[in-house]
């Protein structure tokens, strides 16, 4: 029986990067769900740019029999599955994906892409079409939809939902990518599924708070989301003292260069990401749903375990392994088209803060399966 091979195309490599973290899990296995996920492939073949990483590659060649090859095409040759891990932990769209999808040996295989599928919706759609034409099953996403939640809460599948808000932190590109990845996972569970996005508005500075005052995003949702944070700054950092952040007005005084993006969905659903560096240092969400005719909030922290292991990537690796093993992707490829498209429009919207940007071709509808993506065990 021929050895089962996994091709890993990493467009950037450094210790701590998503590429290194995922590669190591595929090489060595990883603990997750109360057991050890053993290495799922007989051989892991890496194509990665040469550079400072070379010494670490050599270590993995010795320790785990990693094989390196000079091209993406060579990596996927004879492989049962492929993983494409773009630079910037998925922020930068892959330059290798189309090469991988066109490779003859990829036909009928499974392909995981970390982060965002492409630089815009049109290119993402072409990638999805190319994959379909070659019978390649795609799964594209990051770790945040798959990590643990504190508490383990989700939007009830099929629930009437009105609005979701995510508090994000970090550099804008990475924070918006991760937050919208989680946002789509939450929002698509609402009644009717995802209907697409009609308009996007980016806000900066005081305009963020003005929009909140005018009800364009919900302060109650912000308060619920922030109540899940373990990392309030201000007196939280200075004295480890908890304090109410929203009604007190502290959130606006603590925020450094606050920013937000507001999404109007085609069915009237609203979603928003508030980038609140200086207020907290973790990701938290809240969603307003209606259950039994009563308005309720679902809220939770999207827990990112500490470095160096950053075990949210174990949760993602477990999902990818299940996919490589023949399981269905956690969401349809249309979701990846929408994600790529909204991030592209958001980039443009951020150059015109305050303007409502019509999204045109982001009326991408899809539904997701009932099981939640975060770990139950």
């Amino acid at each position: 029986m021929a050895p089962k091979k996994l091709a890993v195309i990493a467009e950037e490599m450094s210790i701590g990067s998503a590429a290194q973290q995922l590669l190591d899990r595929w090489l060595a296995g990883f603990p997750f769900g109360g057991t050890i996920h053993a290495r799922a492939f007989d051989e892991v073949i890496l194509h990665a740019p040469a550079g400072a990483w070379d010494g670490e590659v050599a270590r993995r060649v010795t320790d785990f029999g990693l094989r390196t090859v000079p091209s993406a095409t060579a990596a996927v040759e004879g492989s049962a599955a492929a993983a494409v891990i773009p630079a910037g932990s998925g922020v930068q769209p892959s330059g290798s994906l189309h090469e991988v999808l066109r490779c003859p040996s990829t036909e009928g295989r499974r392909c995981f892409v970390h982060g965002v599928l492409a630089e815009d919706g049109a290119i993402a759609r072409s990638a999805v079409n190319l994959a379909r034409s070659r019978n390649v099953t795609l799964f594209c996403g990051g770790a945040l939809p798959f990590t643990w939640r504190l508490p383990p809460a989700d939007v009830p599948h099929g629930a009437e939902a009105r609005e979701v808000l995510i508090v994000a932190v970090g550099d804008a590109e990475g924070a918006y990518l991760a937050a919208t990845d989680a946002l789509l996972a939450l929002a698509a569970r609402r009644k009717g599924g995802e209907a697409g996005i009609r308009r996007i508005r980016a806000l900066e500075g005081k305009a963020v708070w003005k929009a909140g005052d005018e009800g364009e995003w919900s302060k109650k949702l912000l308060a619920a989301a922030l109540s899940r944070s373990d990392t309030p700054q201000g007196n939280g950092a200075a004295e480890s003292r908890p304090e109410e952040l929203v009604e007190s007005g502290l959130v606006s005084s603590l925020a450094r260069e606050p920013a937000a993006c507001l999404f109007e969905h085609a069915d009237g659903f609203r979603s928003s990401v508030l980038l609140l560096n200086g207020v907290v240092a973790d990701f938290n969400f809240a969603c307003e749903v209606v259950k039994d005719g009563e308005k309720r909030f679902v809220s939770s922290q999207l827990y990112r375990p500490c470095a160096p292991a950053t075990h949210e990537l174990s949760a993602l690796a477990a999902a990818v392994n299940a996919f490589f093993g023949g399981g269905p992707p956690p969401w349809p490829p249309e979701r990846s088209i929408l994600h790529a498209g909204l991030l592209d429009v958001l980039r443009r919207a951020r150059t015109r803060p305050g303007d409502r940007i019509e999204t045109g071709d982001l009326q991408v509808a899809f539904s997701v399966p009932e099981p939640s993506t975060f770990p139950a065990v």
């Binding site: 383990p152 809460a153 109650k220 619920a224 304090e243 009563e294 309720r296 500490c306 009932e370």
Partner: protein, 464 residues
């Protein structure tokens, strides 16, 4: 708890279902039942439910502490060793004064912090700033804090935080925190007033078994609700695991970090809050054996089940020290021995044959992870007791939120949500483990630890 100043020296599922439950139903009970549909907001209560939105079994309610208007709130006194950033008393005091995140909102305390007694005022003291800014008076004696300067008990609850501060240690390395002294002062006021109030004691009761027994006996004698112990049993669990009450269990283990007579109580209570739910309930402890280094590894590896539980618990850790050049470790016994050549291990033999093992694995992990083997089944349950510990991964020690909320619940309802006997027994285990180490790592018979009790049906860990 706070990070140990010197972790190397003393400072702090593969589920098995019980008979009669299908695997699916059992898994839903142990994990899914603890999952939460969402948060409570705007005063609307929401029953715990699984992620599909279906109602969870009624055996696992977690209602927030009853709310009262400011004028109706019951008054409490907080008795502290010291109040500085990251001291236990600071975490409690600030949550009573400022509120904390709970059930998806900022929860204002259900009780009013009416008075303070602070034993020491080190550099960095925060109690006087709290007194000035929030108007909570610091009294010079415990009696005055309880009587609010009057002649009789004038508060509805007492919170004793005898952790941290400059206190001497004895020859066995136990830090002689004044918990029993504080307790006695409180009892004197109760006795003089002819009435008592609910009392919470943070962490283990005392370093002396007789004093531990006396403290619990006082609660029975004077008839006040008594709650004690660690925040570990009530914090988040990853995953949100609970043992169905009455499940036949064989053995449990907690692998943690920290020191003897410090973090050991947290690890022991982590395991015990699961173990006490076994069929027959807790019946007491027959013997305690503690060891360090190579002898500790010998004890750990002497039994296959214990080794298996260690690996299962380690598989829940998010902090295993990786090999050089790597970031994520796959737990194996050889990896564990390499990175933790000098563990401290407590073997606890219960009177019904059940065993508990505590592993303080400094150098290997920096979190608390538990595993339990079910009896006559080849399956193991495991979870991490999640501590968002500042400053490493948080700014707030939010694992105190559920502990403070349980204290509030006791004071508001007049009922301790879980039995103080858990902490009494685990205090005894700590005392005898310290003694075992002091006497040369010998196995000690512990007829004194015949503490039997039944766990409550409801779960009390944080899950919504």
């Amino acid at each position: 708890m706070q990070p140990p100043s010197n972790p190397s020296s003393p400072p702090d599922p593969l589920p098995l279902r019980p008979r009669g439950l299908t695997r699916r139903r059992f898994l839903r009970t142990v994990v899914g039942a603890a999952a939460a549909f969402g948060a409570v907001h705007a005063g609307a209560s929401l029953a715990a439910a699984d992620s599909s939105g279906k109602d969870a079994p009624k055996s696992s309610p977690q209602a927030p502490a009853e709310k009262a208007s400011p004028a109706q709130r019951k008054k409490i006194a907080l008795i502290a060793t010291e109040v500085r950033k990251y001291s236990h008393a600071q975490h409690f005091l600030d949550r009573f004064l400022e509120g904390y995140g709970w059930h998806g909102e900022h929860h204002a305390s259900s009780v009013e912090l009416a008075s303070l007694y602070v034993d020491q005022f080190p550099e960095g003291d925060l109690s006087r700033e709290r007194e000035r800014r929030r108007g909570v008076k610091i009294y010079p004696t415990i009696a005055e804090a309880l009587t609010l300067g009057g002649a009789k008990l004038a508060v509805d609850g007492v919170v004793i935080i005898g952790e941290h501060g400059d206190y001497p240690s004895n020859a066995k390395g136990q830090k002689l925190y004044p918990r029993y002294r504080f307790h006695r002062e409180v009892m004197k006021v109760f006795e003089a007033s002819g009435k008592a109030a609910p009392v919470f004691n943070d962490k283990h009761l005392s370093t002396d078994w007789g004093e531990c027994r006396q403290m619990v006996a006082d609660a029975s004698r004077l008839g006040f609700p008594y709650l004690a112990g660690s925040s570990l049993p009530v914090t988040w669990r990853i995953p949100s695991l609970e043992i169905p009450l009455g499940t036949p269990l064989e053995e449990s283990l907690c692998v943690a970090y920290g020191g003897v007579d410090s973090y050991d109580i947290h690890g022991l209570e982590s395991a015990q809050c699961l173990s006490e739910r076994r069929a027959g309930g807790e019946v007491g402890v027959r013997a305690v054996h503690a060891a360090r280094g190579a002898r500790a590894w010998d004890l750990l590896l002497a039994r296959n089940t214990t080794s298996r539980l260690l690996l299962a618990a380690l598989s829940r850790s998010h902090t295993i020290t990786p090999a050089e050049g790597y970031t994520c470790a796959v737990p194996t016994l050889s990896h564990a021995k390499k990175h933790c050549p000098e563990p401290t291990v407590y073997i606890v033999e219960h009177l019904d044959g059940f065993r508990t093992t505590l592993v303080l694995a400094n150098g290997l992990v920096q979190d608390f992870n538990c595993a339990v083997k079910l009896k006559e089944k080849d399956e193991v349950l495991s979870c991490q007791m999640h501590l968002p510990m500042p400053p490493r991964i948080s700014t707030l020690a939010d694992f105190f939120n559920p502990l403070v909320n349980n204290v509030e619940e006791m004071i508001v309802t007049g009922k301790a949500p879980y039995p103080v006997e858990r902490t009494l027994l685990m205090s005894g285990v700590v005392i005898f483990a310290v003694e075992s180490l002091y006497r040369g790592e010998v196995r000690l018979l512990t007829p004194e630890l015949d503490v039997a009790y039944a766990a409550p049906e409801a779960s009390h860990h944080w899950r919504a």
